[in-house]
């Protein structure tokens, strides 16, 4: 027992060695003056700027000072809106395509044609169609999140065990009951896998989407800081986005493990004691 504990301490230490060494090396490199400090700010500088961005400590980030939470919220709202639309439409369409051959025949070719077009390249059309502010950004996020959800929903429905459907129809289930009580729950693990890929895409696309006409958001601060060469803020924004991406993924994982609680099989013996 205590041995295990020691091992796990060493394990933990090993995990931190490389990141810590990297950050120290970066700090030294920045301070060495090999590149202008403004082009490669040291981690400590980044932290100071980030702190000001969040807590408005020393006003060094000017207009951004103290507005981090606001930026994070703006980005999160965009991600949430686009992601929610993508999730609902992706699941609905995916289930329909996976279940009815005629839907597959009529709708799928169009979607498959659109799929390989990178979401970023829709930016010009997004501005024309949706104008300015949040709408084009949400559209881009939607584009990024839609296809992973769709493809996984289709796959989930198509791989439902045929015998489960047979068992349900033996018990007198109608088609809509089969869809609701069998196909949908059976496809859920695959749908959740799609939702997890999609949240990554969604965050990735916000960064791109916030290139265009929005007034706040982590991506906005990133491009704005880049435009005006505040690389400390650029790195702080990158880290913030990475962090939020990680957290939302973790949240979805949590929801998933709750909804799919029936998947964590334990043996009978494991339960009885």
């Amino acid at each position: 027992m205590s041995m295990n504990w020691l091992v796990s301490i060493r394990d933990q230490r090993d995990r931190f060695i490389v990141p810590v060494v990297l950050i120290l090396a970066w700090e030294c490199l920045s301070r060495s003056g090999w590149l202008p400090a403004s082009l490669l700010p040291a981690p400590s500088t980044v932290c100071v700027s980030w702190a000001d961005w969040i807590f408005s400590t020393d006003q060094s980030t000017q207009a951004n000072s103290g507005r981090w939470i606001f930026d994070a919220l703006s980005s999160s709202l965009r991600v949430f809106a686009g992601y929610a639309i993508a999730a609902f439409s992706g699941i609905a369409l995916g289930v329909a395509i996976g279940w009815w051959r005629w839907v597959e025949r009529t709708i799928e070719p169009t979607l498959q044609m659109l799929r390989p077009v990178p979401p970023v390249s829709w930016i010009p059309l997004a501005i024309i169609w949706f104008g300015i502010a949040n709408k084009p950004a949400i559209f881009l996020v939607f584009l990024g999140a839609f296809f992973p959800v769709l493809m996984n929903a289709i796959h989930g429905v198509k791989t439902v065990d045929r015998n489960l459907i047979r068992a349900a129809s033996m018990m007198g289930a109608s088609e809509s009951q089969i869809l609701r009580f069998v196909v949908l729950p059976a496809a859920l693990p695959s749908i959740f896998a799609g939702l997890r890929i999609a949240i990554g895409s969604a965050w990735m696309l916000t960064v791109t989407a916030e290139m265009v006409a929005v007034k706040s958001g982590l991506g906005y601060v990133l491009w704005d800081s880049y435009y005006f060469m505040r690389f400390d803020l650029v790195i702080a924004a990158m880290t913030s986005i990475g962090l939020l991406g990680f957290l939302t993924d973790w949240a979805i994982k949590l929801v998933m493990s709750r909804v799919l609680h029936w998947q964590h099989g334990q043996t009978v013996q494991g339960r009885k004691h």
Binding site: N163, A167, M170, G172, Q177, P185, A186, Q266, V268
Partner: protein
């Protein structure tokens, strides 16, 4: 009137790979009386599952008619309960929810479902496991749930497709004993597919031995053995010897067939 009546059944599958047609069932006639326990014994690929699926209504015959209790079959229905080889429980429902799934479909409330499931849970000896999920059950337990689910439908006919094939020998023996005792108490007609001679002889009141593909009924044997069956008794082994001989003959024919085609 026979409980199940198969008349001149032919089943032809399209073989996509070779673009030809595959004769799977070749003019099968079979009639099972009420309260019989028929074991369908045959080599792999001879069409046992296909026959069972036609009785269940999952497949339709290419020609011939299937009727249960005098009515011709057009699709699956709750008058025929099926127990599958893999238990095919809904993994997201726990034991009692799985057993009472048909009541949920009928719009019954959760408490009604729970209540109706209890006698069947007791019948298959799963008391204490009501709230377990399928992933937490051993193979034998999952099969018991599948049997309880089929029994709750209160069907005239129970169809079983190699339900014990995946279990280890000891569990299999236990389950066989239990199934027989349930059948004796519950009554009803059972069609049980298997490829194990011992299993057919331990369970059946009749054994239908099928030929290799295309499947025909080679011989229908009425078993005159006392229950509980003793697989080491001379009478039992008399039947076994006879059936093994049939199977050896069939295997030889099958091998000759393959050699001729190769």
């Amino acid at each position: 009137m026979a409980a199940i009546e198969l008349k001149d059944i032919v089943k032809i599958y399209a073989d996509r790979k070779r673009g030809t047609e595959l004769l799977t069932i070749d003019h099968v006639d079979l009639s099972v009386d009420s309260n019989e326990f028929l074991c369908l014994l045959g080599p792999s690929g001879c069409g046992k599952s296909t026959l069972l699926n036609m009785i269940a209504g999952f497949e339709t015959a290419s020609s011939g008619t299937v009727s249960v209790a005098g009515k011709s079959i057009t699709g699956p229905g709750a008058d025929r309960g099926m127990v599958f080889q893999q238990a095919t429980l809904m993994p997201w429902l726990n034991v009692w929810e799985n057993i009472a799934f048909s009541l949920k479909l009928a719009g019954k409330s959760a408490s009604e479902q729970r209540e109706a499931a209890q006698p069947f849970i007791d019948m298959v000896k799963l008391g204490g496991f009501e709230n377990h999920y399928p992933s937490e059950l051993s193979g034998g337990m999952a099969q018991r749930v599948g049997i309880a689910r089929a029994l709750l439908l209160n069907p005239a006919v129970i169809l079983m497709d190699e339900p014990f094939a995946a279990l280890d020998a000891q569990t299999k023996i236990e389950m066989q004993e239990e199934l027989v005792s349930i059948w004796q108490r519950h009554q009803g007609t059972v069609v049980f597919v298997t490829h194990s001679v011992d299993e057919a002889l331990v369970l059946g009141s009749q054994v239908a031995v099928m030929t290799h593909r295309p499947g025909r009924i080679r011989e229908l044997i009425k078993l005159d053995l006392p229950r509980p069956r003793d697989s080491t008794s001379p009478e039992f082994n008399e039947y076994k010897r006879h059936i093994l001989a049939l199977i050896r003959e069939e295997s030889a024919l099958a091998r000759a067939d393959v050699a001729a085609n190769a």
